[in-house]
Amino acid sequence: MMFRRVFPHPLLTLILWAIWLLLNNSMDPGHIVLGAALAIFIPWLTSSYWPEQIIIRHPWMLVLYILKVLYEILVANAVVAKLILGPQKRLNPGFLHYELQLTSPVGISLLANTISLTPGTVSCDLSKDRRYLLIHALHIDDVAEIKAEIHRKFEKPLLEIFVAC
């Protein structure tokens, strides 16, 4: 496993390389080489913080997922703008427990990030056994509906993308 030793996280290497080139906003050969060196060195140096392998089964589905999240952010922003500008007596904020089906740590953190990014809900805490996510919602009409929506829109695609480990 020579390859794994040099590249503990090939995906992280690629992302770091792309970020380096974007930060410099240039495609100079010098930057390409320097970026590649950093992109190989940093994952190697930090590999003890990332013990588990990240397995993405369908990379193109991840891209689809990101586009979908962007769309959801757009829609939900309008909803929350209306809630904020409307009379606040009508808002029913509250906490809810969301039972996770995801088991992969990266999947869970992506789901929590998505929940916080889409307006109206913030993920507040993850239970120690990683089975429940505590969520604060700005306005609750029907708890079951919010949970079903999170599952249908976000958790289901993530379940397909990330293999349990």
């Binding site: 952010i73 906490f95 990014l117 507040c124 609750i140």
Partner: protein, 105 residues
């Protein structure tokens, strides 16, 4: 035509940023106020950054892709900080609005 698109993007961005600030100002408790800036600002800042990327890609030589990075970092860090603040607030038992729905179990 291009100017119109840029203008609309900037106005939309400014509007949602303003809504976020209004939410921060008028919502009654800490947890609800958390929704204002972390949310409305994603679309607000997003729209302004898209406008910036289009403008500098077309007005100067070469494409300007810094904005993608700004968006990326914003979208990664905003939820994490919101999560940490909410978690800290729960730990020190920050006051909630009375009508806040509690957990059923």
């Amino acid at each position: 035509m291009l100017e119109w698109i840029l203008a609309i993007l900037i106005i939309v961005g400014a509007f949602f940023t303003l809504v976020g600030s209004i939410g921060l100002f008028k919502l009654p408790d800490f947890y609800m106020r958390l929704h204002g800036p972390t949310k409305a600002s994603t679309l607000g800042v997003g729209a302004i950054l898209i406008a910036s990327a289009i403008h500098f890609s077309l007005k100067t030589d070469g494409v300007s892709l810094h904005e993608i990075l700004v968006t990326l970092f914003l979208f990664i860090t905003a939820p994490v900080s919101a999560h940490l603040m909410a978690k800290a607030a729960i730990h020190i038992k920050v006051k909630q609005v009375e009508r806040t729905r509690q957990l059923e179990d």
